[in-house]
């Protein structure tokens, strides 16, 4: 089977990079094409968009469809390569494989079987027996096998470009239930080389990358489609599509990066696109303020990223992500360095992924068009921070001691954010703001999952959340499209269940997934996170587990509130809302379908599902979680814990039930809040409500106290400096110049220069007066003078000489 793989390679090699994309590997090596397509589309739309009949949207749609198709193909290539990497039988077979590989190498000819240092380390480290994860990491792996390894330079494919790509398969020699090793496909070039520091640029494909590629590609494609109708007739329609394309390009570039420096560039590019798209309707001051706030808040985190990346690159001497991960795990940098680097990177994560205390920009970012909110501020860009943790997990693992502690910065930040944002979601009138806080809360869940060591669960939640949150956001877009562009649940909505049945049902699926109702997507991922928090690593994270449970309850409750306010009761607007047209309905249906089914990609490996074939369980984990243990920590998998699943179902139902009871009373009375609700009866509740309505006063803290305080002091200091020092210098210089000028005028100009001019004039005229008497006009007199002069000169000559 491995030889067939190589055989396919050789065919492609012969075709010199021809479009044989169904073969495994070609796309994984040339994955740069995927971000390149929307980048070209951006340039084309900007240049030609306005002249096209659809304003450039057709280019955007075509490029994003191509991206989606290529992403899925890359994913299938990865999956088939991943499956082939796991030997299914014993030693003999593996030994045969080695021979096969050798043969294939001979046949191919210019496939170079050279082994670079990474490979070397890979093989030898393997022989020492890297401990395998305990249970069922690799389903269908047989007993232990010898190492098999193939490495091939991509020269055959790319014709002389400095590049490497390797497929490495190696099975664990100890044979404790298997544990294959499968390296990502890396292809990189030197970007610049300064002072012995080789900064590289390139692509890296592994399970995490293809997962992100597919997620971003799909959500972006659906958002492009949805936007066709949603922003139709907008004055900057072309501009909108151009920046959707640029955003997609930047995000894809980010996820395929093999180098930290490249990730930094793409990260900033993503931030820029976010800024542009939030401020898309910049005629309104609120929107420009929101985009400014998003940008500046992100800048705070970007400093953290810059410092963190610099620390890692300088101390570890490489920009390569895999290499950094390997060095971080093998003690290439001290714990202190990793701790500082990971804390700096956490600042970046907090800003981009909306973690406390830098989450404040995310709800304000809802000022952008709703499809943008769905794409950027729910499904893709905001998970850039989570992706950063996932990508550099060994750095955080070592730096924050995730494996051995039961309390660390990442877990606490995530857990705190998730509860905090969940509470804020209760007091919002604006349906998009509820979803925004819910996004913050769910991002907190992901960070929390990573913080407790549940890497796979965190990434799975990222995956499922992208779909159901995009579904909810696009649903909110459809609602506002129907309710004259308002998002106010209390004033403009209510009773839409009958009027917009399709939107209602898709919204219900999204909500169910978010609230963790089995068997929808969110239930599976959330349950995994809770199980990971309880029993994940050495000590477990009991406090974090409790916070996660509280959030599960809160999530179910606030989403039920949204459903009641929007879809039940009497319609409070003044129009006839109706379901959106097909181009908007189709993305909703696709996403709600995924909200239903995405959870089954990672069914737990447990006896409850014994009847099912074993190879449909934990598929997500199987394909996405890295197995190269030099560059990825040995994460303990908690597995499926029945009582936690029951607890999370109970919490979800309790949240839904209690809220539903409250709002049934409201509906009976025909109001949006009970007149004698807890906030009017209880002073403490009222105070809490005010506290929440003011968003914990964080905005006041930032703009009023921190910005205001610093601003005033800095302004006064600057003013003093300006009026005293700078103005003094300027005035002094000016005065000196004036005085110098005066003096120069009086003395130099009037005295010397004018004196010389006038003097020379007077002199010549005086001399003329004197000499005119000599000029008699009589030639003989001139002759006499001439001779007299000559006589005098002759006399002098004689006397002197």
């Amino acid at each position: 089977m491995l030889s067939t793989l190589l055989g396919q390679f050789s065919v492609i090699g012969a075709a010199a990079g021809g479009p044989v994309i169904e073969s495994s590997g070609w796309l994984m090596e040339n994955v740069w094409i995927i971000p390149f397509i929307p980048a070209v589309a951006f340039a084309l739309i900007i240049m030609l968009g306005k002249k096209l009949p659809k304003g450039g949207a057709e280019i955007g749609m075509a490029s994003i469809l191509a991206v989606f198709v290529l992403s899925v193909l890359t994913g299938t290539q990865w999956m088939s390569a991943r499956d082939k990497s796991v030997p299914e039988t014993g030693n003999e077979e593996a030994a045969a494989l080695v021979v096969d590989v050798g043969d294939a190498g001979d046949v191919v000819g210019d496939v170079d079987a050279s082994v670079d240092p990474v490979d070397d380390a890979g093989l030898e480290g393997e022989a020492d027996g890297v401990a395998a994860p305990e249970d069922g990491l690799l389903v269908g792996t047989g007993g232990g096998t010898g190492g098999t390894e193939t490495a091939q330079a991509a020269d055959a494919v790319s014709g002389g470009v400095v590049s490497t790509s390797e497929f490495e398969t190696a099975a664990d020699a100890d044979g404790e239930g298997g544990g294959g090793q499968f390296l990502p496909v890396v292809r990189d070039w030197t970007w610049w080389d300064v002072g012995g520091l080789d900064i590289r640029v390139g692509t890296m494909v592994d399970g995490l990358t293809v997962m992100m590629l597919v997620t971003v590609g799909l959500v972006s494609a659906l958002v492009h489609l949805f936007s066709l109708e949603y922003v139709k007739g907008d004055s900057r329609f072309t501009h909108y599509y151009a920046f959707l394309s640029l955003f997609t390009a930047a995000m894809l570039l980010y996820v395929v990066s093999s180098s930290l420096m490249q990730m930094l560039v793409a990260w900033e590019l993503v931030g820029l696109c976010s800024f542009v798209l939030i401020g898309h309707w910049w005629e309104d001051k609120n929107n420009t303020d929101a985009s400014m706030k998003a940008f500046l808040t992100n800048r705070v985190g970007d400093i953290g990223l810059l410092v963190g990346v610099t620390i890692l690159i300088v101390t570890l001497g490489t920009s390569d992500v895999l290499e950094i991960n390997r060095l971080a795990l093998s003690g290439g940098a001290s714990h202190l360095v990793l701790l500082v680097a990971s804390v700096c990177l956490m600042a970046a994560v907090a800003s981009k992924s909306g973690q406390f205390p830098l989450h404040t920009w995310l709800p304000d970012a809802m000022a952008g068009p709703t499809p943008v909110s769905a794409l950027i501020h729910a499904a893709t860009m905001v998970v850039a921070g989570v992706f950063l943790i996932g990508r550099l997990y060994p750095v955080f693992w070592e730096g924050l001691s995730i494996g051995t502690s039961s309390f660390n910065l990442m877990a606490v930040m995530g857990a705190f954010t998730t509860i905090m944002a969940g509470l804020l979601a209760f007091v919002q009138r604006d349906v998009k703001k509820v979803l925004a806080y819910s996004t913050v809360s769910q991002l907190g869940y992901m960070v929390m999952a990573l913080g407790v060591g549940a890497w796979g669960a965190g990434m799975f939640h990222l995956f499922t959340h992208a779909f159901f949150k995009a579904c909810l956001f696009l649903g909110a877009g459809a609602l506002s499209h129907a309710c004259h562009h308002s998002f106010d649940m209390k004033a403009e909505m209510g009773g839409l269940r009958k009027k917009m049945p399709l939107t209602f049902w898709t919204f219900i699926f999204g909500t169910g997934a978010l609230a963790g109702v089995p068997p929808l997507a969110g239930f599976w991922s959330k349950d995994e996170i809770l199980a990971g928090a309880w029993a994940g690593q050495e000590n477990g994270y009991p406090i974090i587990f409790v916070m996660g449970c509280v959030t599960a309850f809160l999530t179910a409750a606030y989403m039920t509130r949204v459903i009641y306010l929007v879809f039940f009761g009497e319609y409070r607007g003044h129009d006839t809302p109706h379901d959106p047209p097909f181009v908007m309905a189709f993305p909703l249906m696709v996403l709600s379908g995924l909200a239903l089914f995405a959870g089954f990609f990672n069914l737990p490996n447990t006896s409850i599902f014994e009847g099912l074939p074993s190879n449909i369980q934990e598929r997500f984990l199987h394909y996405v979680e890295p197995t190269y243990f030099e560059a990825f920590p040995l994460v303990d998998h908690s597995g499926f814990i029945p009582w936690i699943a029951v607890l999370s179902i109970f919490l979800g139902i309790a949240g839904i039930g209690l809220t539903a009871m409250y709002y049934r009373k409201c509906i009976a009375l025909g109001v949006t809040e009970l007149p004698d609700g807890p906030t009017s009866r209880n002073k403490l509740a009222a105070a809490g409500y005010t506290f929440l309505e003011n968003k914990y006063y964080l905005d006041h803290l930032y703009t009023g106290i921190i910005a205001g305080g610093t601003k005033g002091v800095i302004a006064r200091a600057t003013n003093w400096f300006n009026s005293n020092v700078l103005d003094g210098i300027v005035n002094g210089v000016g005065k000196t110049a004036v005085k110098g000028g005066d003096w120069t005028y009086k003395n130099i100009d009037q005295g010397v220069v004018d004196g010389a001019v006038k003097g020379s004039g007077a002199l010549s005229s005086g001399m003329g007066q004197v000499l005119r008497h000599i000029q008699t006009g009589k030639v003989q007199q001139y002759g006499a003078l001439l001779f007299a002069g000559v006589t005098v000169l002759a006399a002098v000559f004689i006397v002197v000489v």
């Binding site: 008699t776 009589k778 002759g783």
Partner: protein, 99 residues
């Protein structure tokens, strides 16, 4: 060689010439005095040429004679023009260049 006599002769001729140039009023006489000066120089040239037994002096003297002929030609033409304008060749009356 009797160089001194030649030099003395030349000096006397030169002085007579200078006197003539400065003191005579008649333009023609002034021109003739100029010829005297030139010939005084010629005598010197030839005398020194002979003294050093080289031919340069004679050659130079021949040049001077040629140039003097041309000069006299130009000079007489001027005198004729002056005469036509003023009916006189009195140099005292020709003071148009007075400052």
């Amino acid at each position: 060689m009797l160089l001194n006599q030649f030099l003395l002769l030349a000096a006397v001729l030169f002085c007579i010439g200078v006197y003539g140039v400065i003191a005579r009023r008649n333009a023609v006489m002034v021109l003739m005095s100029v010829e005297l000066i030139l010939n005084a120089v010629n005598i010197n040239l030839v005398a020194f040429g002979r003294l050093h037994d080289v031919v340069f002096g004679h050659v130079f003297a021949l040049f001077v004679i040629a140039v003097a002929a041309a000069e006299v030609g130009v000079g007489l033409a001027l005198v004729i023009m002056i005469y036509r304008n003023k009916s006189s060749v009195d140099l005292d009356q020709v003071d148009l260049m007075r400052g």
